[in-house]
Symmetry: C2
Subunit: 126 residues, 2 copies
C-alpha cells in the first residue's frame, strides 16, 4: 500500500458527517500560509487547482469563520492568506498528529519487532 | 472528502518503507477471522479477491510469521485462518486506534466547537 515516506503516521479525523481533516487539507493550509497562493500550494502537492480550491471551499463552509481568505474574495489565483481560524485548524491538526504518534509508539515498536528482517534485500518484502 | 460514517478516526501507520497498516488491512484481517475466507472477507468490504489476496500477501511477506494461513497453502478461495501473528497485528491496530482516539479527543472537541452550525440544513455545508 503506497504511503508517504518519512511520514509514518497518516491521520484523518471526521469532525462531522460533512467534513474531515487529514494530511491533504493540513498540508494545503500549510502551503497556502507559506506561498500566499492556493494555486502554488496545490501545485507543490501535485494537486490540481480545482481540487485545491474545492478543499479550501469545503473547509471555509464547514467552519464558522473561513480558514482561507482570498484577495479578491472569489477564487482568485493569487493572494490567499490563512485566517486565524486556518492557523488554529492547522495547529490543532499538527498537535493531534503528534499526540497520536506518541500514543501509538509502544504498539508500533511491538509490530516492528514482528517484521521479517531481510538485510540488504528489501525487495523480497514486496 | 469521503470518509466512513461512524468511524471518526482513520489511522494508517507505516511500519517500514514497505508495509503500512491501516483500516483496510485491519478490517480484512477481522473479516478473515470471522468468515474463514479471504474471498468472503474481501467481498464484505467490496474489495476484489485479487486486491484482498494482495493485501494478505503483503502482510504475510512483511511479518516474520504469516498473518493468514490458507488450507491448501496457496491462494485457495476457501479455508483461511488468522494465525497468532495475525491476531496480534489486528489487536495491536485496534489498540492503536483507540489510543489515538483518546489522545486527539480534546483537540477534536475544540475543532468541532469551531464548526458552523446550520441546524436542519446540513446541505449548506457542502
Amino acid at each position: 500500500m503506497p504511503h508517504t515516506p518519512g511520514r509514518p503516521l497518516h491521520l484523518r479525523i471526521a469532525l462531522d458527517a460533512e467534513i474531515a481533516i487529514g494530511p491533504g487539507k493540513a498540508d494545503l493550509l500549510e502551503g497556502i500560509r507559506e506561498t500566499g497562493s492556493i494555486a502554488a500550494a496545490g501545485r507543490a502537492m501535485q494537486m490540481s487547482y480545482k481540487r485545491a480550491w474545492s478543499l479550501v471551499e469545503a473547509m471555509n463552509s464547514a467552519f464558522r469563520e473561513p480558514v482561507v481568505e482570498t484577495a479578491r474574495g472569489g477564487n482568485a489565483r493569487g493572494g490567499a492568506t490563512l485566517t486565524a481560524t486556518g492557523d488554529a485548524v492547522l495547529a490543532a491538526y499538527r498537535r493531534m498528529t503528534k499526540a497520536a504518534e506518541d500514543a501509538v509508539a509502544p504498539e508500533v515498536e511491538t509490530l516492528k519487532s514482528m517484521l521479517s528482517t531481510v538485510p540488504g534485500s528489501d525487495e523480497q518484502r514486496d
